[in-house]
Symmetry: C2
Subunit: 357 residues, 2 copies
């Protein structure tokens, strides 16, 4: 029996209910494949603020470090939106990423044939879209110093953030991206704003340099404004995309929305060593929290990414992903992906369906 210690961070809003489903699914797959999960739960985000006064209590970070992988649901909600920055749910998430050194964020945007009609794009435009965005996650303008709101000599306020990357930071995310592309269609598009930004110029130079070590990967470069256009115009041109923290935030969300069903999309955040964090792309959806309406499939697919990228258990990951496809094939849908003629299920019932198939 292989045994893993998994830290669960249910967070806020629909987080706890979708987490329950993912845990149930993991238990069943674990039993089938002789994998034992030891789950430990910790607080993050608004739930942590309410209980402890801070969005990432030190014990939470310790528990995460002391585990094989972290499964996170979602954080945030109206209630905590107007707190000072250091007390906001998002700050807890950024602290977790920094604290675990999770510099590589993998965000797949893959169209499922069963859900192609959910897209706002024409079916022939999105049919077959399968994009992996590799986003740098612990650098760039999210973390650059100096930052803050300063008072100038004239007494006026000036808000400042610093968009910066070192060569080492670019290289390590670049390697993850090239290796990811190697396992996919072998095409990597690096997105930057090198025609305007010096930080992007360094980015482009380093990625170009790295490419010599990956002759089997076809590298291209694109400006971020054009990438935003091309994702809308002809998304099938992309295989793997690598970009910085802010551009990745924007483009991965745009790419996700091409599918029309962000309730289906997982993500993985990985460091050089130590546990990764696996979480859905969607938010905490406070307006439907506790109503058994949430779609748990992105959370379940995040558990599959955890098995694949965090625990190196591809067979277990395949099982879970297949179960998701099977429930979709037989017509089971939560409200967010519902369409005429399908079976409308709540969050719990969807979980049961996954275990049944």
């Amino acid at each position: 029996t292989t045994q893993y210690r998994i830290t669960l961070l249910p967070g806020d809003g629909i987080g706890p209910e979708i987490m329950l489903v993912a845990v149930d699914v993991l238990k069943v797959v674990g039993k089938q494949l002789d994998i034992r999960f030891e789950f430990q739960e910790a607080l993050i985000g608004g739930a942590a603020i309410d209980a402890t006064g801070e969005p990432l209590p030190p014990t939470t970070l310790e528990m995460c470090k002391d585990s094989d992988a972290v499964l996170l649901a979602a954080i945030g909600g109206y209630k905590w939106d107007n707190l000072p920055r250091h007390l906001r749910p998002e700050t807890g998430l950024l602290g977790l990423r920094a604290g675990l050194g999770l510099f590589a964020n993998l965000r797949p945007a893959k169209i499922l044939p069963q859900l192609i009609d959910a897209s706002s794009l024409k079916p022939e435009v999105v049919d077959g879209v399968d994009i992996m965005v590799v986003r740098e996650l612990t650098g760039g303008v999210y973390f650059g110093q100096p930052k803050g709101i300063f008072t100038t000599e004239t007494g006026e306020k000036r808000g400042v953030n610093t968009m910066a990357y070192t060569e080492a930071e670019i290289d390590r995310i670049g390697r993850v991206a090239f290796e990811t592309a190697q396992k996919r269609q072998g095409k990597l598009c690096s997105v930057d704003k090198a025609n305007v930004l010096e930080v992007s110029q360094l980015w482009r130079d380093r990625i170009t340099q790295l490419a010599t070590e990956y002759p089997d990967v076809e590298l291209s470069h694109m400006y971020v404004d054009n990438a935003a256009m091309q994702l809308v115009r002809y998304p099938k041109q992309f295989d793997t995309i690598v970009t910085g923290n802010l551009f990745g935030d924007i483009l991965s969300d745009a790419a996700a929305m091409l599918t029309g069903s962000i309730g289906m999309l997982p993500s993985a955040s990985l460091g050089a060593s130590g546990p990764g964090v696996f979480e859905p792309v969607h938010g905490s959806a406070p307006d439907i929290a506790g109503q058994d309406k949430a779609n748990p499939l992105a959370q379940v697919l995040s558990a599959a990414m955890m098995l694949r990228y965090g625990l190196n258990q591809p067979i277990a990951a395949d099982r879970i992903e297949n179960a998701v496809l099977q429930v979709l094939d037989r017509g089971d849908r939560t409200g967010d992906i519902m369409s005429p003629g399908m079976n409308l299920l709540g969050c719990r019932a969807m979980g049961e369906a996954l275990i049944e198939v």
Copy 2:
């Protein structure tokens, strides 16, 4: 007779051929409405680099300052892509914006019913979309100091740009945006990343403050990642969008591509006083330059924006815009917007069609 001095900056690629069409159209409308244009031409971008060694020769900036409005076509091309930054075409464009103090960039993205099929989105999603992006154009990470590629103590390179806004910079673009929204549907969405960036926090605070002066405008705020999603998901929710330089660059291009025909989209860049610059959203398309294949309509519509926003000649602007709609109605199309059953025209022939109708 009203008389205006117009500086023409044809630039690179298809720039000169589409500029010719716009000038012809302006002449005809001028004759009809008793407006005289005195045109003067100057160099910018790659053409200026080739002739003078710099992308924005001082005489060009002087001529622009000494005119009532500037009509720009497009800059750039493969040929100049690998020059050092200070010698690149884009640097000339940024210098022009800074030199004329053009802090407000207006980018309409409006679906024309005649071209709705060109969109990659479903017709019911984009039908009626009419968005105006108000982008701050002389601040933010495009111009913030410090910037450059520096060597750290460990001998490693670090690329740095600074994303900064002062209260005054936010207020002046905010006012333009609120006033723009007043003339439209009265809805303004301010886009930032205030959950992560201090510069965005100041932005959101100031815009919120300004809103008290515009009680007739309904203000909302959205994070930039969500805005990128929502543009894809349900673009009709937007009327006027205001945002910083970088976010505006990305989102205005995404919004433009919703229409499926960026060969149709003009833009206006305005300062506090002095001449504005009016230019198409599309680039210089070097691959089709000189082949009489370019779509001149964005350039022509940029001339209409010049009349409306730069010279306060709304009747002349209406005439031009109506002419564009009429040629589309009768089925005239350039290659980029061609569809079965329409009449395929070259750039020059499209110009003649505009004058005919």
